[in-house]
Amino acid sequence: MINRRSLVFLGLVLGFVLGGIVLGSGEASARDADIIISQKADVETFDPSMTNNTSTHNININIYDTLVRLSDDGKDFVGELAESWKLVDQTTWQFKLRRGVKFQNGEDLNAAAVKFTFDSMMDPERKTRERPTYQAFKEVRVDDPYTVSFLTHKPYAIALTQLQYLMIVPPGYIKQVGWDEFAKKPVGSGAFKYKEWEKDVRVVLEANDAYWKGKPKVRTIAFRPIPEDAARIAALQRGEVDIIDAVPYDRIKELQGTPNVRISQRQGEQVYIGLDTLRFEPFKKREVRQALNYAVNADALVKNLLLGYAVRLNGPLFPVTPGFNEKIPAYPYDPDRAKKMLAQAGYPNGFDVEFALSTAFQGIAKGTEVGEAVAGQLGRVGVKTKLNVMDSAALFSAYSAKKLQMYLYAWKSSPEAGRHLETLLHSKTRGYYYQNPEADKLIDAYFAALDLKKRQEIGRELHAYLREDAPWIFLYQQMDLFGVRKNVTWEAKPDYLMRMRDVSVTK
């Protein structure tokens, strides 16, 4: 009796298992698009106002259009939906829209659509994720059906930098189906149309033949999220996917050795070591901060740990930030001088300091290795660091609670505009670890200067001042690395977006 029952049960289990497997195995999916892009993460939502996630932007930018776009050299803006633009007065940016552009459902893309996009994003009721990013803008005004003005609260030199990411959405469609449905089945004016989304498996987009810039070069593109680095690289090597993001630095050599695969790079995060100049006694002294800059061998970090895929920085400005001055020398590696300066500042025997870092924080490459190397170099001049490796969220919390003495940090957002200078170093914004009226004054002047020449001039002054005052240990700007199959023409772009409309595939 027992025996029969147990056999029946086992049979049921096995039958269930087999049935499950057979039912579960749907259609095969080997190559379901002309170009397949694999990023770490899946799309979060197709509603561009509800996300600030890079992987998601990279998918959405193929469905929607923006007013302007950063040129490929990263130095200027070129028109997209905007045919031309001008600064009417200090706080009014006016755009003339291209006529005849239609959303994929036939709706006109006009000034009203632009206003709707902005207004709905800023509507407090909707609690959009992008709202904080656009706080500098007061309102959007429709001047005529194809002319639209963005009004800022005060002169805002980097308005275009912000607006290059504003994806225009179709008011009629959204009013018809509602935001929730729109977030799942989007309609835009972009080069590709939404076709299919299987969560965590793939997003498939197909060519929009009526695209105002002409048909895209391929019929379909797909985004396949693969979170694990090793698996993503394997998929590229195997040819299952054509483009992968976030290639880790320790896999560079292997990819260079793979036939049919190349590496595409763009300038990525600025990595620096923040110092608490407000509460931690030694760092209150400028000489100590400078001494630490002499004590760290950033060139060696670039060469040995980042394998040359980084650019040494001579201050807090990115090479594309207006006012960046390449003539200013970076702090040379000079431990003897560092020791002397520490002694003069009253620390002949150095001091103890806690050094917080998180391995892949904000995309820092080889975070732990960099931290350990820096700790070793500082040890040679008598500064004894206690490494504290934390999880990203924990580091963020401690950072904003002003609890850190010294921390490895990275900044990526809109480097071309110098916005990080305001966010990180102005006492009115974060001011967590550095507050200096001199710097504040220069930064204010820098952002009020709408004329580029004037901005560059103030920028150079700011650059020299901050390099001297050394609120951070300046390190380098690392590269974002992508793996690309050699038969795909895509290159990484400085605006951080992956537009696929001009990309083609050769057999």
Partner: protein, 305 residues
């Protein structure tokens, strides 16, 4: 019997409430989601507003009470990241996780039962030693390493199977092997031990004494009696496989609950973490209960009190 089931269900509710308490408070201790969710430029005022809008500025016990009140009505909140109700996000990934867990279980039973039986019958032979060594490796090999190795060998080198993702049957093989290996090793050991135990029993000697062929003794008499504890373990393993596929799903980009949980944890998506953990806990508790009930059905000597 009915009283037993009611008591077990009451216990299950207690367990779920306990789990909800732990996950609710632990995820909140581990870091603030505003830094991960808002853009890098967001100011303190933005963060404060976000916390107010999501209700994170209220005392924790108030937040928990609110969470439980809604949970009782089946509403586990909205995911901060996806901006959609959390429970459906979890449930729609359940089929993928179930598929993978069942496949892993199938693989492990297919290998483990014959391997364990042969091992017991040929005790202390080279075969037995090799199997036990293999089982030891199977139980101690890190899932992560195994998964990557399988990808490198079968996908990149031999180009036999896809590297990752969900699709046809071929997509299922590597993750199922990876996930099933630990269970395979465990069940093999269990079957072997059980068989050795049974083989020493009087009724086996009786069967042999009355001249039945060896094969028949082993399959019909010994194996059948070994299978009862195996079935218990299989039930428990299924619970573990369903909840424990976190690493495997991440490596193979398998669109299941485990991978969703990992992403949600890294992003401090509180409502989504709570929903994934609660659903997993519920599956585990229910599968345990089911196994206990089945056990009694299979072996009437067991009485529920």
């Amino acid at each position: 019997m009915r009283r037993y089931i009611l008591r077990r269900l009451a216990q299950a509710i207690l367990v779920i409430v306990g789990v909800s308490l732990v996950v609710f408070f632990v995820i909140r201790l581990s870091g603030d989601p505003t830094y991960l969710l808002l853009s890098a430029e967001a100011t303190e005022a933005d963060r404060a507003r976000f916390a107010r809008e999501e209700g994170f500025d209220r005392p924790l016990y108030v937040q928990y009470a609110e969470f439980m009140r809604r949970a009782l009505r089946g509403d586990l909140g909205r995911s901060l990241r996806y901006r959609q109700p959390a429970l459906p996000l979890v449930l729609e990934r359940l089929p993928a996780t179930v598929e993978l867990a069942l496949a892993a279980l199938f693989v492990s039973l297919l290998v483990a039962i014959p391997a364990g039986v042969i091992s017991a019958v040929r005790r202390d032979t080279a075969y037995d030693n090799l199997t036990m060594l293999g089982a030891l490796f199977g139980q101690s090999m890190p899932v992560f390493w195994l998964g990557i190795m399988l990808i490198l060998i079968f996908s990149v080198r031999l180009e036999l199977l896809p590297t990752s993702g969900r699709g046809g049957l071929d997509h299922l093989i590597l993750p199922a092997l990876t996930l099933g290996l630990y269970s395979t090793a465990r069940v093999t050991r269990l079957v072997r031990a059980g068989m050795l135990d049974v083989i020493g029993q009087d009724y086996i000697r009786t069967a042999q004494a009355k001249g039945l062929p060896d094969r028949r003794v082993i399959v019909k008499h010994a194996l059948r009696n070994t299978l009862i504890p195996v079935i218990t373990i299989v039930g428990l393993e299924l619970g573990t496989l369903l909840g424990g596929a976190v690493i495997t799903e991440t490596i193979f980009a398998w669109p299941g609950i485990g991978r969703l949980a990992v992403t949600a944890i890294f992003q401090r998506d509180y409502p989504l973490v709570q929903a994934t953990v609660l659903v997993t806990a519920l599956i585990f508790v229910l599968s345990n209960l089911l196994v206990d009930l089945l056990y009694g059905w299979l072996d009437p000597r067991i009485r529920y009190t």
